[in-house]
């Protein structure tokens, strides 16, 4: 008889850490901050298993009471009730839970974690055969550091890029788009260019430099062409959200990319699940080299199916999941997803460490994480430390 793994308890706590530096603003928003946090949710079963997720996508938009409302529905349910599983592989989602899981993709992290542990399989094995042993990662904490440390100017970013290299990253993503809001447009363009060039000079030719404008060149196509042209010598790996997704704008951007910097990827789509028509139109015309829905928001199963659908469409668009919001758990999920996704490009790494997470199998070597084969997500909670720090502030849902 199949063992029962009913969810009998969910423990939720705000887990705090910090970047060790002040992460500045992007082209549209205020400083990202010094501290960061995850809303750790531990799902415990009657069989003694613990699965984890970060409920921050829910807490970013709602309240703890609303989160309780969502997670409370899972209590008493068997962990194999939510998905169809055959021969150790997830093959579909139970329609009973499809809506909840679609709206709360982060829940899938804990459910896949639990299923993997129950079956003694790594999480990635639930999705498909392993296609890689490591997943490249980029440091995504290089914001408008020049506005945090104005006396350093562009060097503030180049310095932090070098510090990332010294810590082992072989790719960094630099926030640009200064013409959009925080700078006078021409000054912002010049600073964007200067930062990319200084970073290349300081960090050498091996570093992969990614840039992300958060749409900060919207309405400034003349400046955008100048940017693409002027940073061509820096061999930028990808350009992300240079403008809001739009066919005519992306055609012009693609033309400039082809003319000045033909190896640079154009990527977009972090604010979407990849299903809206505009993304398929961009893919159809070859205007989108990688698409970036957020891993925690979307969850494993929809993301896996998006990757399969794109592959079957014949479009050459790759997959580069967005993953920020202090997503240490999200990053582990991206690495698991990467293990089974041939078109995966690189993982977004907010570089945060949380003392209570123990995940030694995710070794970080030469800019890439080893994909662990330990059961489930492969993240253990230091329960003693958790009890000491968060025991008095957690909330607990029980059957």
């Amino acid at each position: 008889m199949k063992a029962s793994h009913r969810i009998v308890e969910i423990r939720i706590a705000n887990i705090e850490t910090d970047f060790g530096k002040l992460v500045g603003r992007n082209s549209r928003s205020r400083n990202y901050g010094y501290n960061q946090r995850e809303w750790l949710a531990q799902f415990k079963t009657n069989s003694g298993l613990t699965g984890v997720t970060n409920a921050r996508p829910s807490m970013n938009r709602g309240t703890l009471a609303q989160l309780h409302g969502v997670l409370g529905q899972l209590l008493g349910r068997d962990v194999f009730e939510f998905y169809r599983v055959k021969d150790g592989r997830v093959t579909g989602v139970n329609p009973r839970w499809e809506h909840l899981l679609q709206r709360n993709g982060f829940v899938s992290f804990a459910l896949f974690d639990l299923m993997g542990r129950a079956l003694d399989l790594p999480l990635h094995a639930l999705l498909g055969p392993k296609v890689r042993d490591t997943a490249d990662a980029y440091d995504s904490t290089l914001y408008f550091e020049d506005l945090v440390h104005p006396e350093e100017g562009a060097d503030a970013v180049a310095r932090e890029a070098w510090e990332a290299v010294e810590k082992g990253w072989r790719a960094v993503k630099i926030k640009i788009g200064r013409p959009g809001r925080w700078f006078e447009p021409q000054m912002g363009l010049e600073r964007d260019i200067e930062i990319v060039q200084r970073t290349r000079e300081r960090c050498g030719s091996e570093l992969r430099i990614l840039v992300d404008a958060n749409n900060g060149y919207d309405g400034k196509m003349d400046l955008l062409e100048t940017f693409v042209r002027e940073v061509a010598s820096a061999d930028v790996f990808w350009m992300e959200e240079m403008i809001t997704q739009d066919l005519s704008g992306y055609r012009r951007l693609r033309d400039w990319r082809d003319r000045y910097s033909p190896t640079t990827m154009l990527v977009d789509g972090e604010g979407s699940d990849g299903r809206p028509t505009i993304y398929w139109s961009l893919m159809e015309e070859g205007l989108l080299d990688a698409i970036q829905p957020d891993m925690l928001h979307m969850g494993f199963w929809p993301f896996h199916n998006l990757a399969l659908d794109i592959a079957e469409s014949g479009y050459r668009t790759k997959i580069a999941p967005h993953n920020f919001n202090a997503a240490a758990i999200g990053l582990r999920g991206v690495i698991q997803f990467a293990a089974v996704t041939p078109s995966f490009v690189i993982a977004e790494d907010s570089t945060l460490k949380f003392d209570i997470y123990h995940d030694p199998d995710y070794r970080f070597e030469n800019g890439a994480y080893v994909v662990p084969d330990s059961p489930g997500l492969g993240v253990e909670i230091d329960q003693d430390l958790y009890a000491r720090l968060y025991g008095s502030v957690e909330t607990v849902l029980k059957t």
Binding site: N14, E16, D18, L22, S27, R28, R30, N31, G33, Y34, N35, R37, M59, N60, G62, T63, L64, A65, H68, D146, L147, V148, P150, E151, G153, G180, R181, W182, F183, E184, P185, Q186, M187, N215, G216, Y217, D218, G219, K220, T244, R388, L389, Y390, S392, V393, T395
Partner: protein
């Protein structure tokens, strides 16, 4: 004497740092460790320079297709309203006091209240008088200030727990603050409502115990008790012994709701002031006027740097027949915000305290307005009495300065 004409305006982002990471409030995730002061400097052909901050404007951002909230848009509105005008072209004066905004700029100043602070500063410096005089003259020699940096600090320091707020309050008291505002309303978002109530009460009582009798305590719920008046009743009852001076934004402003708050006060014997209005962007909005006229609030709080001096003058006229106190808020306005509050408070009869976010010094020179034992002394220079540390400005901030000149827009 012919007043000077404004020739040059610059906009410079100046980082302002809190003393540490500030945690959550009832509605927002961590406030963080810093903000930017959008420093505006306007210089005349007579050698006068006036200052303001355009933080309110920079918060108006919607998207990249609109100019509001962008440096480009800010330069454009400053150019349109200020460049080429004389320093006496903005404000009507009678008996040495500003009595109105001149019609040519009235619309712009109503929408961008922070502009009026620049106009006051320019006029005061040109005439060699303090803005305090322009606002009606000195009403007091020291301006009480309260520490407004006590957020949900226990989330940042789980090992200390709720005692962290009391610990921070004690530090503030040692630094000279005699009034401290504690953020409450944990049940709105970050905790379950009943848990949040218990924590709010625990924190307030712990702070009172830590401070003893020698301090005033205020609370700000950020509307965190909306829909939970029963819990609010408990909060008021259980914190009576903490003798809270004022209770801010307990619920969303609404006459029915505030009548209910008054009933809770009557039932419990609570005589704390009820205050609200910091997010009133068009003061005095009808709802707040109704609350004031009906005696349902005791303090009103539009932001000093957003509303500006001229609007606050108008607010005080509107509150003339009420007992409502002037309590301008100042959120994320950097060091400038505290100075604006001190200057306005010095000239206001109904003023009750400066909101002080205790920013570390940045671009301004140290001057005669010093904080000590719960209050600020007054600045003694003309205008706002605030001077830029030019050596530091050039060394640290000038590279991010964007400039417009009369008739010749220039970008470095």
């Amino acid at each position: 004497v012919v007043a000077g004409r404004i020739e040059t305006i610059s906009v410079t982002p100046v980082p302002a740092f809190y003393r540490g990471e500030l945690g959550k409030s009832s509605g927002s995730d961590n406030i963080g460790k810093s903000c930017l002061e959008w420093l505006v400097r306007a210089r005349t052909n007579s050698g006068v320079e006036g200052l303001t901050v355009a933080n309110a404007y920079m918060r108006e951002f919607t998207d990249f297709h609109h100019s509001e909230g962008t440096v480009k848009g800010l330069l454009e509105v400053l150019e349109e309203v200020f460049l080429g005008r004389r320093t006496d072209g903005f404000l009507e004066i009678s008996d040495g006091r500003v009595v109105a905004i001149k019609s040519e700029v009235a619309r712009a100043f109503r929408h961008n209240g922070w502009m009026s602070i620049l106009a006051f500063d320019l006029l005061g410096r040109e005439k060699g008088v303090s803005c305090i005089e322009l606002l009606g003259g000195r009403q007091r020699d020291r301006i009480p200030a309260y520490d407004a940096t006590l957020f949900f600090q226990e989330f940042l320091h789980p090992e200390t727990g709720p005692a962290q707020v009391a610990r921070d309050a004690s530090e503030s008291h040692r630094a000279g603050y005699r009034q401290l505002k504690i953020n409450i309303g944990r049940g709105r978002r970050w905790m379950l409502p009943a848990d949040g109530l218990r924590r709010d009460v625990e924190v307030v009582l712990a702070v009172r115990e830590a401070l003893g009798e020698d301090a005033e305590i205020m609370v700000d719920a950020g509307r965190g008790y909306d829909g939970n008046l029963d819990l609010l009743d408990d909060f008021v009852r259980e914190t009576l012994k903490a003798r809270i001076l004022w209770m801010e934004d307990l619920i969303t402003p609404d006459v029915t709701g505030y009548r209910a708050l008054r009933r809770i006060q009557e039932r419990t014997g609570c005589n704390a002031w009820l205050v609200c209005g910091k997010d009133d962007t068009h003061p005095i909005s009808p709802i707040f006027q109704d609350l004031a006229d009906e005696g349902l609030i005791d303090g009103y709080r539009p932001d000093i740097a957003s509303a500006g001096f001229a609007t606050w003058q108008r607010i005080e006229d509107g509150l003339r027949d009420t007992n409502v106190r002037s309590l301008p808020s100042s959120f994320a306005n950097g060091c400038f915000g505290a100075r604006a509050g001190v200057v306005f408070g010095a000239a206001s009869r109904r003023f009750a305290g400066v909101e002080d976010e205790r920013f570390l010094p940045n671009v301004y020179k140290v001057d005669s307005s010093i904080f000590d034992d719960g209050s600020y002394t007054l600045p003694d220079g003309p205008g706002l009495g605030l001077e830029i540390d030019l050596e530091k400005y050039e060394r640290v901030y000038a590279a991010h300065e964007a400039v417009v000149r009369a008739g010749d827009r220039r970008v470095p």
